[in-house]
Amino acid sequence: MSAHTTDNGYKEMARLAIEKHGTSPDALIPILLEVNQEYGYIPVKALTEIKKHLNAPVGDRLIQEGHLFSLASFYHMLSLKARGRHIVLFCESAPCHVTGGRAVWQALQEQLSLSAGETSPDGKWSLVTTSCLGACGVGPVVVIDEDMYGNVTPERLPEILSRYE
C-alpha cells in the first residue's frame, strides 16, 4: 500500500496500470486487481482516472466508472471500502464450519468487536469472510494479512491477534 492517495497519485497509478495491462477489455480486471493491491482497496477516484484512459469504446461499450464499480463490487478480492491495517480473513465454508469454525467465528467477532465486512474505528482491523482458501486440511482457517493459521480454536485467538500491532 504505497501509492499516494492524492489526485496525482491516482493519476500515476492509473497510468502505470494501463501501461502494464493495456486497454483491451480483458485488461480491466487485472487493472483493478493491481489498484486493489496498491491501495488495499479501490478508491473511486482511481476508477475515474482509469476511465480517462479508456476514452473510446472498448468492445461494444464505453467504459465508465459504473462498469469498473460494477466489476469491483462483483469480485470479492476487490474492495470498494478502505480497509484496516490488518485484514482478518475468516473462511466460512463448510469444511471449516464442521471442524469447529462456528465457534471460532463467534469468538473472532467478539474479540475484535466487529461483524463481517466491518473495519474497527481505530483502523486497525478489518474482518472479512471468505469462501474456501483451499486449506481445508487444517480447518478452521484464519488468515491475517499474509499469514495463515490452521486448526484455530477460540482459545488460540487472543495469542494470534496479539502478534499484530
Binding site: D26, P30, M77, P95, H97, V98, S131, C136, G137
Partner: protein
C-alpha cells in the same frame, strides 16, 4: 502448507452381515477375524466393518478386502486365520478363495470392473508431484516432460491426437464428466479462423484444492497439455484462468510459461513446426461462479462473471464469440501421459465407464486430511478408512459431502457406492470436483445446509431469479428452522424452492444449490422434523432461538 500425503497402505475388511449371512455364521466370522487381526498386531492398520445386501446367496458370508477390492466367499470362521496372515499381513491374495468376477451381483457387482492394482502405483496426475522442482523445466523434461508434445507435433495429426484421447475414455474432471475427446472433436470441427484454449483453474469449490496442488507441483504438465489441446483443435492462443487467491500457483505458472517460451515450447513455430501457441495467465478476482465456464469467459472479457445462456456453448461461441475449448486442470493433467503412452494404456485404470484416476481431497472429522490420487471407483468407506485413517476420535460417520458446496450429501447407507461418474449418477449422487467432506455424528445437517446456502446466496451471480432469490429464501427458511421458528410446511416450501432452482436456473450454480436441500430432506428428514416438531436440534448445534434478526438489512450501495 499442505503437502501431498504419502499414502499409507492400510486395509479395509468388510464382512457381509445381513440375515442370510448371519444364518451362515457371519457373526462368528467377524469374531474370528477380529481375534486374528489382534493376534497379528494389525489392529491399527486394518479396519473391520460390515456390509449388507451383497447379492448371491451361495457366496455368503463373503469378505471384501480393500484397497485390492478382492472378494472372498463363502468364507468360514476357520478361514479367518489364513486371510489375516496371508492377505492382510503378507499382502498375498488367496487366489483359490476369490469369487469369480462374473458371480458378483447386487451392490457389489461393480467390483467386477474394478482394477486391482495398488493406488500408490497409479499416480498419473500427481506423477511428478513432490518429486521434481516445480520451477525447473529441466526437471520436468527429465521426467518425460514435453515428450507428448514433441510426439504430437512431429508424428501425429491433430485428428490422431483427438483419436487417442477418445480411445482413453478420459472424462472431464470438473464435475460433469463430459468425454474430453468428444469436446475437443467439437471445437476442432467448428469452423473459425480464431479459436481459444482455456484452462479452468478457478478452483473455488470449498474443500477442493487438487488443481492448486497440480499447478504448484507440476505446472509444466498443464502448459504442455494446453499446447497439445491447441494443436488438436487449431487454436493459437490460450488462457489459464487461475483463482486469484492462488498466488503461488500463478507465480509458478508464469515461470513455467517463460521457461517454455525460452526453449521454444511456446510461442511462434514451436519445435520448428508451423504450430504457434501463446499462453496467458488471467487471474480470477474472487468469484466462485467463475468456475462455470461461460462465467469464466465473461470474466476474461472484463465483465461480471455472469454465466451465459446456453446454447450456444463455448465450443462454438466462446471467448470473444470464437470456438473455445475449456478444460479443467485435472483433466488436462491427464492428457500428456495419455499421449505419451496411449489411450489403451490409460483405459486400464479405473472402471470401464470411468477410466483413469481421480484426485481427491479429503477433510472434515477424519484423522488424516489431504490429497490422494486413486483409480476411479473407490468407495467412500475405503476413502475414509484407508486414506483418511478413520474418523476422528472414533466418532461415527454421519454424512459426506462430495464435490464441494455443490455436491451431494451422502448418508452412511451409500458409503459403498463406487465413486465413478456412472455409478454416482445412478445413485443420485454427484461426484463433483473430488472434494470429500466427512462429517461425524456431531454435525447437524440443518446447520450444515444452512452454511451451504449462505455460501450460495453470496456466490450466486445474481443474474437469474431462481438462484438469486431462491437461495436467499431457502437460507431464510433454514435459518428459521435452526431458530425453532419454522412450521412443517416450511419443508414443502424448501422443496418447492429447490425444485425451482433445479429446473429454472440459468447455470449449474443455482441447480446444484438445491442439491443439499433435497439430499437433506431425502436422507435426514427425521432430524429436520425434530427441529420443527420437537423444537430440539438432535446434535445440539442449532441455537433453537432467535439470536439475531432473521433477515439482514440490505444497504443500498448507492450513497443515495
Amino acid at each position: 502448507m499442505m503437502e501431498v500425503k504419502v499414502i499409507n497402505k492400510r486395509a479395509l475388511v468388510l464382512v457381509s452381515d445381513d440375515s442370510e449371512s448371519r444364518r451362515l455364521g457371519s457373526q462368528e466370522l467377524l469374531q474370528a477375524l477380529r481375534t486374528e487381526i489382534d493376534r497379528c498386531g494389525l489392529a491399527n492398520e486394518v479396519d473391520l466393518n460390515t456390509i449388507v445386501d451383497v447379492g448371491a446367496k451361495n457366496l455368503l458370508p463373503l469378505v471384501i478386502i480393500y484397497p485390492e477390492a478382492v472378494v472372498y466367499g463363502p468364507v468360514h470362521p476357520a478361514d479367518a486365520g489364513r486371510i489375516v496372515k496371508e492377505h492382510l499381513s503378507q499382502g498375498r491374495v488367496i487366489e483359490e478363495m476369490i469369487v469369480p468376477k462374473h458371480q458378483l451381483t447386487g451392490r457389489i457387482a461393480w467390483l467386477a470392473a474394478r482394477s486391482g492394482a495398488l493406488p500408490a502405483a497409479q499416480r498419473i496426475v500427481l506423477e511428478r508431484a513432490g518429486r521434481i522442482d516445480p520451477e525447473s523445466i529441466e526437471d520436468y523434461i527429465i521426467y518425460d516432460g514435453y515428450q507428448a508434445l514433441t510426439k504430437a507435433l512431429t508424428q501425429m495429426t491433430p485428428a490422431q491426437v483427438i483419436e487417442e484421447l477418445t480411445i482413453s475414455g478420459l472424462q472431464g474432471r470438473g464435475g460433469a464428466g463430459f468425454p474430453t475427446g468428444k469436446k475437443w472433436e467439437i471445437v476442432a470441427s467448428t469452423s473459425g479462423s480464431k479459436k481459444y484454449v482455456i484452462c479452468n483453474a478457478d478452483e473455488s469449490e470449498p474443500g477442493t484444492y487438487k488443481d492448486r496442488v497440480i499447478l504448484e507441483s507440476d505446472p509444466h504438465s498443464i502448459v504442455e497439455a494446453m499446447a497439445l489441446a491447441a494443436y488438436a483443435i487449431g487454436a493459437d492462443e490460450g488462457f489459464i484462468y487461475i483463482r486469484g487467491e492462488y498466488q503461488l500457483a500463478q507465480q509458478r505458472f508464469q515461470k513455467a510459461i517463460e521457461q517454455a517460451q525460452a526453449l521454444g515450447l511456446l510461442g511462434e513455430h514451436i519445435l520448428g513446426t508451423d504450430f504457434s501457441f501463446h499462453l496467458h495467465i488471467h487471474s480470477g478476482a474472487g468469484a466462485y461462479v467463475c468456475g462455470e465456464e461461460t462465467a469464466l469467459i465473461e470474466s476474461i472479457e472484463g465483465k461480471r462473471g455472469e454465466p451465459r445462456s446456453r446454447p450456444p456453448y463455448p465450443t462454438t461461441h466462446g471467448l470473444w464469440g470464437c470456438p473455445t475449448l475449456v478444460n479443467n486442470v485435472e483433466t488436462l493433467a491427464n492428457v500428456p501421459p495419455i499421449l505419451r503412452r496411449s489411450g489403451e494404456w490409460y483405459k486400464k485404470f479405473g472402471t470401464p465407464s470411468s477410466p483413469g484416476t481421480k484426485v481427491y481431497t479429503i477433510f472434515g472429522n477424519v484423522n488424516l486430511t489431504g490429497v490422494f490420487e486413486v483409480p476411479m471407483g473407490i468407495t467412500l468407506r475405503e476413502a475414509i478408512s484407508i486414506y483418511a485413517k478413520g474418523m476422528k476420535n472414533g466418532a461415527a460417520f454421519k454424512l459426506a459431502q462430495t464435490g464441494g458446496s455443490s455436491g451431494s450429501l451422502i448418508p452412511a447407507s451409500l458409503q459403498d457406492t463406487p465413486l465413478d461418474f456412472a455409478a454416482t449418477r445412478k445413485a443420485g449422487v454427484s461426484l463433483g470436483s473430488g472434494a470429500l467432506l466427512i462429517a461425524d455424528e456431531n454435525t447437524c445437517v440443518v446447520d450444515l445446509v444452512k452454511v451451504l446456502l449462505n455460501f450460495f446466496r453470496f456466490e450466486s451471480c445474481g443474474k437469474c431469479t431462481p438462484c438469486r432469490i431462491g437461495t436467499q429464501r431457502s437460507y431464510e427458511i433454514l435459518t428459521r428452522i435452526t431458530q425453532g421458528q419454522a412450521e412443517l410446511d416450511a419443508l414443502d416450501e424448501l422443496l418447492k424452492l429447490a425444485d425451482q432452482m433445479v429446473r429454472l436456473s440459468n447455470c449449474g450454480l443455482g441447480q446444484t444449490a438445491a442439491v443439499p436441500i433435497r439430499d437433506m430432506l431425502k436422507h435426514f428428514r427425521t432430524e429436520v422434523e425434530a427441529h420443527i416438531q420437537l423444537g430440539v436440534c438432535p446434535t445440539g448445534v442449532c441455537p433453537m432461538r432467535v439470536e439475531a434478526p432473521a433477515a439482514e438489512e440490505m444497504q443500498p450501495l448507492a450513497s443515495a
